[in-house]
Symmetry: C2
DNA sequence: GACGTAGTAGACAGACTTGTCTACATAACA
DNA sequence: TGTTATGTAGACAAGTCTGTCTACTACGTC
């Protein structure tokens, strides 16, 4: 994924600076672990300015997830293209992400674990995100009766691979297991 | 999984009461979201007593994960047995857990998301936990050259299913996808 | 009878939380 | 010229967090 936070220069509006800093901190250190004061300090903005744009931390969390969704999906589609576009592109595309310095798992899965109980909208945004991810995966597969089912299974395996790469802190086992599933799911079975 | 927290009566030692309460709160509401004061209040213990047994919150987190590991593994092995013992037992066993009132995903995956960055030992405990889970899964499979590899792939799919059941808040899609993977992984391929 | 262990209640320190408020500056635009 | 939008600095409220401390109680065992 894009590590390069698009240069949080003075050029950008206060709102953009806040969102980009939150994007970075929330993903890197966790949402609960990141205080509003830190976001404010690092985006070089006044407190009033912050609260004018984001009336509460929950609003910022929401905007963060929406923004993350946009950027991640854009990256995902692009990476799959760059790696050939078929279902075989899945593993090398994910490898790109998993080996990124800043990789810390799926922002949505992490948020569900952190906030799922107290902030139900996180569940809903996550479902939307994963549905879109599944759609993109389905488009990699040849049309067939069981395309949708295969895409769901693959998406589940991708989630498993993300988790595994996260706690292993190395992508190898995750990618191997994903490829095993992918192959058995597609080569065989009519 | 066992919802019935083994009756936190006055009979138990202060240490046990603290650990059982923490077990419940940490899993249900998250670790960061649960303050030490709350654990102390709900276990009906004095602050000094708490700190005598658990010198810091991090120690409690550690003990919580160890305890969770013990209980979850015991439940898993038992549930697989009860459902017939083969690889076919996997899905009904997990269904048991996923439909439990108190199901909130995997305590280890959740902890990694919450604390992985700041508390590296969480990663290590999680790896150990998942390794043991994978071993148990391997024992469900017939001996063959690719047994270990299949177990790794299945374990990855199980993680994916846990996540999916968690954010879906219903186990159906997760179990279906898991079964698709399981079947294609085992029926076919020599 | 003295000592160690395990327990109680509750005040306190110091840091950090989210969010509000006052008072002021600058630029665009009607 | 006056209004609106956007920005600044920073004090403050009210609460929560982890962890320490004093002072006292009860039980079992050597």
């Amino acid at each position: 994924m894009q590590t390069i936070t698009p240069s949080i220069s003075q050029m950008r509006s206060a709102r953009d600076r806040i969102l980009l800093i939150a994007y970075d901190l929330f993903y890197r250190e966790g949402i609960r672990a990141t205080g509003i004061d830190r976001v404010i300090a690092e985006s070089g903005v006044a407190k009033v300015t912050f609260y004018r744009h984001f009336p509460s931390k929950n609003v910022l969390i929401h905007e963060f997830l929406e923004y993350r969704h946009q950027r991640w999906m854009a990256w995902f589609v692009d990476a799959l293209q760059r790696h050939g576009g078929g279902v075989k592109a899945l593993s090398p595309a994910l490898a790109e992400w998993f080996t990124d310095q800043g990789f810390r798992g799926c922002a949505f899965i992490n948020s569900v674990g952190e906030l799922g109980t107290s902030l139900p909208e996180v569940l809903e945004i996550t479902r939307r995100h994963k549905n879109e991810m599944t759609d993109v995966i389905a488009n990699l597969l040849p049309t067939s009766r069981h395309r949708k089912q295969d895409a769901q299974a693959l998406a589940l395996a991708v989630d498993g691979a993300i988790i595994r790469a996260q706690y292993d802190q190395t992508p190898d086992a995750a990618l191997t297991a994903l490829e095993v599933i992918q192959k058995s799911l597609l080569n065989i079975k009519k």
